[in-house]
């Protein structure tokens, strides 16, 4: 690739490419071309989307079909329906596509011009959906950070440029001072999307004010919250938006070097970033004299190696410097003394992903979205016991109920909602009564949870809240860096108490002990991980205290989840003797004649619950 030396040259690429790609966003695009878009996000890739792409290309070549291109894209969002294929410009959406379906899609859709009805997606209410935007899932969403995900091929820089890519950088370098850039970000009201919600403009201005010969821009892509994959999807679907924003940040704070710290467990994201950086360098959009303006900035990748705590900004810096990821005590803050002791700006992926749109559309536009204190949108990774598992981006202020029920399509298997967990191991469980809380930083922390990076796990009535607390503590204990006493030993002791409860070995007073210890750790731990580790416990104690009491006082698990406190039983009146449970039992613990009520041998049963899920008559219960 040739270096793009001037603004005019990049504008030329943009205009040409934009016309070519109009069909991606315009239903009525004036073209004979068709683009078959296949999701190559991690989820769909795991279910063989690369093979789908390969098959499409092979069939098209064999059949000599013209004017059809197969494009890999980032995540469309509705992971539950993956692998997803979308054909544009008509925007037809096929779900759960298998590699062997490619032939039929080509023959029926492309050649004959008809829909492959069996692959169309059914919405929760059963209606057949033809187009993506007809799905309820998308109706309340607004995509800013995910704007290009599912639209462009993330490995082709021209496609990014076509959709206003690097236009913000152009604007910044040619017509804005550093102060103006920071002011724009400040006025937009953008706050850190990593969880704590620190005003981004403030962070930029602190780092800009620090005096040093060298400063750094760091992107925190160490998304370790289990069940969260927002940042990964952005990097996989639109890596240049992060590179561009980091470059803008470099200009604003006076840095010439950036680092992206990304988990090695995200191989696709890492590879896309590598390609993107290479292409940006080749175009001269990274390196010396960017777009002929004399501004110099470059970005390198640093891989994490499996430590949740490295998402904490100072631990991340330690890790980039090649050491154990143990947080540093603050102050000094990274804005004054960060990477290699130099002033450093650290933002998370999603935060950066908002920057280019703010620059292009202006702070006023951005701050018109959202609530009083929280502006713009937030991406959530919606998972757990919810129908539409996937990635959603909603304006701040959207309620949890809207996300779980309108977008997420509610709880599967006719079960009841019990709690929504936000903020991962640092957050809390939110019960039904608070479902109408509008999502913003303040209101979530007021109800004992936190925004967090965007994991949103839905739990149905079969989940035991004591066990959920135990799960999170188990996570924290194994991810604690071990540096400070409260987190190193305190969380372990909390876990031991929770384990006792789940095993029916709790002692009177354990709840009070747990609560006291939780409050103490919250105040005395060194870093954010330790200080927030008790949240899952404190929030469940607040909203589901009776479940704790049942475990401790009566040795019962009301949800019927804790294995030591309950057995699986087949209710003879409901059992039709179909034998499905018997066939699916991994340990052959179920016996019974056909059409006769079956029984479970509790001495053999491992309480895995397979039979409960398999039983068509809901005859098997825990208790």
């Amino acid at each position: 690739m040739e270096k793009v030396k001037t603004i005019e040259e990049i504008e030329e690429i943009r205009t040409k490419k934009r016309a070519e790609l109009d069909l991606r966003v315009n239903l009525k695009a004036n073209t004979v071309e068709k683009h078959i878009l296949v999701c190559r996000g991690t989820g769909c890739t795991s279910s063989k989307s690369p093979k789908i792409i390969e098959n499409f290309r092979k069939i098209i070549e064999e059949k000599g079909i013209k004017n059809v291109r197969v494009i890999q894209t980032g995540c469309f969002g509705l992971c539950a329906k993956g692998p997803i294929v979308i054909i544009r410009p008509e925007d037809v959406f096929y779900a759960h596509v298998k590699p062997e379906d490619c032939e039929e899609i080509i023959n029926t859709h492309i050649v004959e011009g008809k829909l492959v009805e069996r692959l169309l997606c059914k919405d929760i209410d059963g209606t057949l959906v033809k187009r993506l935007d007809e799905l309820n899932f998308y109706k309340k969403q607004q995509r800013i950070a995910l704007k290009n995900c599912g639209i462009i091929d993330p490995e082709v820089i021209d496609e990014y440029i076509a959709f206003d890519g690097y236009k913000a950088l152009e604007k910044v370098l040619t017509s804005m001072t550093k102060e103006q850039v920071i002011e724009e970000i400040s006025n937009s009201g953008l706050r850190g999307r990593g969880g704590a919600g620190f005003p981004t403009g403030k962070k930029w201005s602190f780092t800009a004010m620090a005096n040093a010969d060298q400063k750094y821009v760091v992107c925190n892509a160490d998304e370790g919250d289990p069940g969260a994959f927002m940042d990964r999807s952005i990097l996989e679907g639109d890596p240049h938006s992060v590179l561009e924003a980091m470059t803008i940040a470099g200009y604003a704070i006076g840095a010439s070097q950036g680092y992206i710290y990304v988990r090695a467990e995200y191989p696709i994201a890492v590879q896309r970033l590598r390609v993107a950086i290479k292409q940006a360098r080749e175009y001269g959009l990274l390196g010396d004299n960017i777009l002929g303006t004399g501004f110099k900035f470059d970005i390198d990748i640093r891989l994490g190696a499996g430590a949740f705590v490295c998402g904490e900004e100072t631990a991340l810096l330690e890790s980039i410097e090649g050491r154990r990821g143990q947080p540093r005590l603050k102050p000094p803050y990274p804005a004054n003394s960060g990477l290699f002791g130099k002033p450093t700006l650290i933002n998370n992926v999603e935060t950066y992903a908002n920057v280019t749109r703010i620059i292009i559309n202006g702070a006023n536009w951005y701050s018109s979205i959202g609530t009083e204190t929280s502006k713009g949108t937030k991406v959530f990774a919606l998972g757990g016991n919810v129908n539409n598992v996937g990635l959603v981006e909603v304006p701040m202020g959207t309620t949890l109920r809207e996300i779980v029920f309108d977008i997420g399509g509610g709880i599967p298997n006719g079960r009841k909602f019990k709690a929504a967990q936000t903020g991962g191991p640092s957050g809390g469980c939110i019960p039904e009564e608070h479902l109408d809380t509008p999502i913003d930083y303040e209101s979530l922390s007021k109800i004992g949870s936190m925004m967090g990076s965007g994991g949103l796990i839905v739990m149905d009535e079969t989940k035991c809240m004591v066990d959920i607390a135990r799960f999170y503590l188990d996570f924290t204990v194994s991810e604690s860096c071990g540096k400070c006493t409260p987190c190193r030993i305190g969380t372990k002791r909390m876990l031991e108490i929770l384990e006792r409860m789940c095993e029916g070995k709790a002692k009177p007073g354990d709840i009070e002990k747990l609560e006291k210890l939780a409050n103490s750790i919250k105040k005395s731990a060194v870093c954010g991980l330790g200080q927030t580790a008790p949240n899952p416990v404190l929030s469940t104690l607040k909203y589901f205290r009776n479940e704790y009491e049942e475990h401790v006082m009566n040795g019962k698990c009301p949800a019927g989840y804790c294995k030591a406190l309950c057995n699986l039983k087949i209710q003879p009146d409901k059992c039709k003797g179909c034998g499905l449970c018997k066939r699916n039992c991994p340990v052959n613990a179920i016996s019974g004649e056909v059409k006769q009520p079956h029984v479970i041998d509790t001495s053999k049963c491992i309480k895995c619950g397979t039979c409960v899920d398999k039983c068509p008559f809901k005859a098997i219960v825990r208790g």
Binding site: R324, L329, S478, C481, K483, G490, S520, K523, S524
Partner: protein, 579 residues
Amino acid sequence: MINLTIDGKQVQVKENTTILEAARQNGIDIPTLCFLKGINMAGDCRMCIVEIEGRKGFATSCIQVAEEGMVVRTNSPEILEARKTILDLILSNHHIDCLTCVRGGNCELQQLAKKLNIREIEYEGEKLEHEIDDKSPAIVRDFNKCVLCRRCVATCKKVQNVGAIDCTSRGFTSTISTTYDCSLNDVDCTFCGQCIQSCPTGALREKEYINEVWDKINDGDSYVVVQTAPAVRVALGEEFGMKIGTNVKGKMVTALKQLGFDKVFDTNTGADFTIMEEANEFIERLTNGGVLPMITSCSPGWVRFAEKNYPELLDHLSTCKSPHQMFGAIVKSYFAKKYDIDPKKIVMVSVMPCIAKKYEASREEMEVDGLRDVDYVLTTRELARMIRQANIDFENLEDSNFDDPMGEATGAGAIFGTTGGVMEAALRTAADTLEGKDLKDIEYKEIRGEKGIKEATLNIAGKEVKIAVASSLANARKIMDKIKDGKCDYHFIEIMACPGGCVMGGGQPIKDSKTRATVDVRKLRANSLYSIDEKSVIRKSHENPALKQIYKEFFGKAGSHVAHKYLHTSYSKKEKYEI
């Protein structure tokens, strides 16, 4: 100056003073555990937390700098409760056996438990179990008593630049350990023992040889000779509540005699021998084009460091044995013959301020004609334990003198115990020899003091002699890297492994973190040695009459064949890791 309020008291402190320092300067104590001034200031343990008005959460007083107008509370009920919980947690993972622990009574954790009035452990749970590492001849590592303060890690890494131990694993299973959890014996540890000095509990301690020594004293057949290093006499008293740096030579000798040693000798005399040989070796190298710079070799931690890290530069090390090894060899040869004692029955015990001497005594080179130079090395602390065991009322002992014929040492031998002392002692003899006269100006003040590396250029007999004195292995590494890069024009270098020299050796009485932060222990002990030197009638090693007699009767002259047999040694490359 900064004005702030601590516990309602208006105080004024210098800029960049931490809250902890500010409080202590004003008579308010804040408990600490992981804090070790200048070495470990990481704020990990959370004992020193305080409240600052208007701030969320607790502040870490050992790091947080005092700011104008701050209002600090160090003892609110909430803080006291939080500290208690933290200590409770630490104790819940601690193998509590204070009654039999070597640090019982001198343990910072125990002091904290007392201070915070811990009566029971509320949060009992799993305790980590680790095997005790006692493979090395010098250091025992008992992780079961570790509180993860990491003072030892910081000391090993920052002060010594060795890094034999580090934090491994993470979370609750975090451990202070070596690579692959090997014994210290098999890794890059030099046995300097500074980690023991830093340890607030009994997790790191010396390998004790007290019982073996008692057995020899009591077996009725052995002739047990003890020698004491110069630095021991200025520190032993601290174990009995005396002021830091008190010279207890007379009481110490009396105590040793009461313990039942057959002879009580002074290692300072051994030091005089070392100077005779070393000064001679230096003059030889200087005048005959030998390998320069020559580096002293009386610090075994340093020698092991050199053998593991700079095997290609071992020619620079003086071949002289260290004073106590020389002395041991002399006792088992000259002394045994002169007094007609079967040398095989002689048991040589050295009381040293040093941990690495235990290892040094076990080196295979330290043997002449099948006789070990030294059989047992005890630290200053172990001697104190023996004295307590024997119910000796140390403070009220009468003074007595070291035994003849080697009882009278010089001032030069005394200052061996502090950084710069070996060099100064050697220069006194070398300068006299080179100049051929009895020089009066014998105090080399430029190489005294606490600086890690001290340099001087001297004019001796018309020759420019460049010297350097380094203490701590981190400083040793700096010097060695310079030599390696060919950028070193010194002629003579003194290196001691412990920062400050032997007075601050790993075997000396352990001072808690607060004492180390507020008192210059090194200076007090070193000054005591300099004052011994000042008061000495004879201040040059080569003028020691006993020494002159022994050279006359036994060795001939310095550097002779016989001297080499008994007083010199050799070095060889040691694998850094035998894992």
